[in-house]
């Protein structure tokens, strides 16, 4: 069949036809970040083969990266909807207060985890209510609650730490931070949450509405999209998943200290934006955040393993983030039309 005949016969030329260009257009940012990840990884293998050809470093990444990658996944959705949540590191701590309270009174770790998730949900709900009902920009509200939730955490436990040796031995602990065929459960959970978030963002009404709200809020209003409800749900989801990350992190070190999660704000944000999610909302990538998180996680270890003076860590960190975000901006312009 000649191409002309094809054009005449097909009712419209709109049937999905695979071309390099359409593929690149659709997946520009995903391809970009994946290539960058592979390049970075090969560079680390070349420059620090002892570390990066050893299984242990990957087990370590699989355990520690999820602590900020989990909130980053849900944060991606929030950013797609045009909001932001800076308070999740404090929710990681506040959720653990609920965990400790229930674990110390009932001794049931499963219940304690549920309590932590409930506290996380409430914290997220409060963020959402402030943002949508009082109408304060999410950036400002969550800076406030970043302090508020951390302060509450410190005040409620009097700044004390709690040993979690017994909790660590529980069945629940094995489900959260044990191993499955040698793979750390943190990583398994991360993959599960990533798949769930992907479905929510691209294949669910919630994500469809989040996209429209982030892209064009007046249009969302005109089209009758439940803007307030959608935004609140997203904040609640960030809260729940952050609390889960806080529980995992505390169980891993068999200790709850009220500062848990405090260092994860910038790595999580970096993962989202290095991944290719738009700062302006309306467009985001779960795959990008997933890969971005591991890039961020690997940089620190890689720099140390390469024998570069640790003082340079942040310089290289910053450089890689800027490079990644610039590549996204260029790819975006190149392939948008």
């Amino acid at each position: 069949m000649t191409s002309t005949a094809e054009n005449v016969q097909s009712p419209s030329p709109l049937a999905r036809r695979w071309t390099v260009r359409s593929f690149a257009t659709t997946w520009a940012s995903q391809i970009g970040i994946t290539v960058a990840f592979v390049v970075l990884w090969l560079a680390f293998i070349l420059l620090a083969p002892d570390t990066f050809l050893d299984n242990r470093i990957y087990v370590s990444f699989a355990q520690t990266t999820p602590y900020f990658a989990l909130p980053a996944l849900l944060l991606t959705m929030v950013i797609v909807s045009g909001d932001i949540d800076l308070s999740f590191p404090s929710i990681m701590g506040l959720g653990m207060v609920g965990f400790i309270a229930v674990e110390r009174t009932t001794g049931n770790v499963g219940l304690a985890v549920l309590a932590a998730l409930a506290v996380g949900a409430l914290a997220g709900l409060l963020n959402g209510v402030f943002v949508t009902f009082i109408g304060i920009p999410a950036l400002v509200v969550t800076i406030g609650t970043l302090f508020l939730y951390r302060g509450l955490t410190l005040a409620l436990v009097n700044g004390r730490s709690f040993a979690l040796v017994e909790a660590r031995d529980s069945e629940m602990s094995r489900v959260l931070i044990g191993r499955l065929f040698g793979i750390p459960m943190q990583f398994v959970w991360l993959v599960l949450v990533a798949i769930g978030t992907w479905v929510l963002l691209y294949r669910h009404r919630l994500g469809q509405n989040a996209h429209v709200i982030g892209d064009n809020r007046p249009a969302a209003k005109l089209m009758g999209i439940p803007i307030r409800r959608t935004r609140i749900i997203l904040f609640v989801l960030v809260g729940v998943v952050s609390a889960l990350a806080g529980v995992m992190n505390s169980l891993q070190v068999s200790n709850f200290y009220p500062g848990v999660g405090a260092g994860y704000l910038l790595p999580a944000l970096a993962a989202v934006f290095v991944g290719g999610t738009s700062v302006f909302g309306g467009r985001g990538t779960i795959w990008g955040t997933f890969i971005g998180a591991f890039m961020i996680g690997a940089i620190q270890a890689g720099i140390v393993a390469m024998g570069i003076e640790a003082f340079w860590t942040e310089v290289i960190y910053g450089g890689i983030i800027l490079a990644a975000v610039s590549i996204h901006a260029v790819l975006q312009r190149r392939f948008e039309r």
Binding site: P11, S12, P13, L14, A15, R16, R17, S22, T26, V199, R203, H204, R205, L206, Q208, N209, H211, V212, D215, N216, P218, A219, A220, K221, L222, M223, G224, I225, S278, G282, R283, E336, R337
Partner: protein, 278 residues
């Protein structure tokens, strides 16, 4: 004209008043839109056109006055209610999400979903392909249901918004400055489509600055000036030159001045009651 004889009123506004923070935007606005009628809404910037439209679409609630759909008064109209009553707005660009694909835009706010809110993407894509081929006349091979709106021309965007309104079986289609930014050829296409709305027995309110566009498709013209209805007349009553003259007078004086040709013959008849065809 068949329009008024049909008699079925699609929407009627009675004595609508609306102020924003002490500023009167609409004062005692009344008009009717009959089924199968294309109504041109003309008026300068700030005349209250968009506020009026937002009241019909449920975005704003009037301070006083009544809104009737098919003769039934609707209290505290919301956006959802207005949509359920068949009001669809085609806003210039504003109602499209640029970074999203065509199918996501077509089904914006009304996605087809299965259990647990999971989207039926395949079905939405298929319907989008059908709509693009049949109704939009998109022929460019570069366009697929997954094309982002940023890749569309102004006319294509307009077409997308209109097709969306039609797909959801709107009874009253509101076109807010639909010709803005369109090339001549695209404008012709659009005007042709607006005529098609009437043929389909549906109603439209066509808002535009351009008298020529409105005159060529509207059955009746309502002129808004500083929040009041300054004129309401069937298009067939006047020539294009006379309408232009009327508009100029309204803009200058705020008053409706009957063009000379009609002054002698029916000086007694008020323009807004002059519904019948000559």
């Amino acid at each position: 004209m068949t329009v008024r004889e049909d008699g079925r009123v699609a929407v009627e506004l009675r004595h609508i008043h609306k102020s924003f923070g002490g500023v009167r935007v609409l004062t005692d606005v009344s008009f009717r839109l009959s089924a199968g009628e294309v109504l041109g809404l003309l008026g300068d910037n700030g005349a209250g056109k968009s506020t009026l439209i937002k009241i019909i679409t449920g975005v704003h609630q009037p301070d006083s006055g009544q809104i009737l759909f098919g003769g039934q008064e609707v209290h505290a109209l919301t956006v959802d209610q207005a949509r359920a009553l068949g009001v669809e707005t085609v806003f210039q660009e504003r109602a499209l999400a640029e970074q999203l694909s065509l199918w996501r835009n077509i089904f914006m706010g009304r996605p087809i979903s299965r259990a647990f809110g999971i989207l039926d993407v395949r079905r939405m894509r298929r319907i989008t392909v059908e709509l693009m081929g049949e109704s939009m006349g998109f022929t460019s091979a570069a366009l697929t249901p997954d094309t982002h709106v940023t890749g569309l021309s102004g006319g294509e965007r307009q077409g997308l918004a209109i097709v969306r309104a039609l797909h959801f079986e709107a009874d009253i289609i509101i076109l807010d400055e639909p010709t803005m930014g369109l090339s001549l050829k695209e404008t012709d296409k659009l005007l042709h489509f607006v005529k098609g709305i009437r043929t389909a027995g549906k109603s439209a309110i066509f808002i535009d600055h351009n008298i020529f566009h409105v005159y060529s498709v509207a059955d009746r013209i309502v002129v808004l000036d500083r929040g009041r209805v300054a004129g309401d007349f069937p298009t067939s009553r006047y020539t294009l030159e006379e309408v232009t003259e009327i508009m100029r007078e309204v803009a200058a004086t705020g008053k409706f001045i009957e063009p000379e040709r009609h002054r002698a013959t029916d000086a007694a008849s008020r323009p807004d009651q002059a519904a019948g065809a000559p």
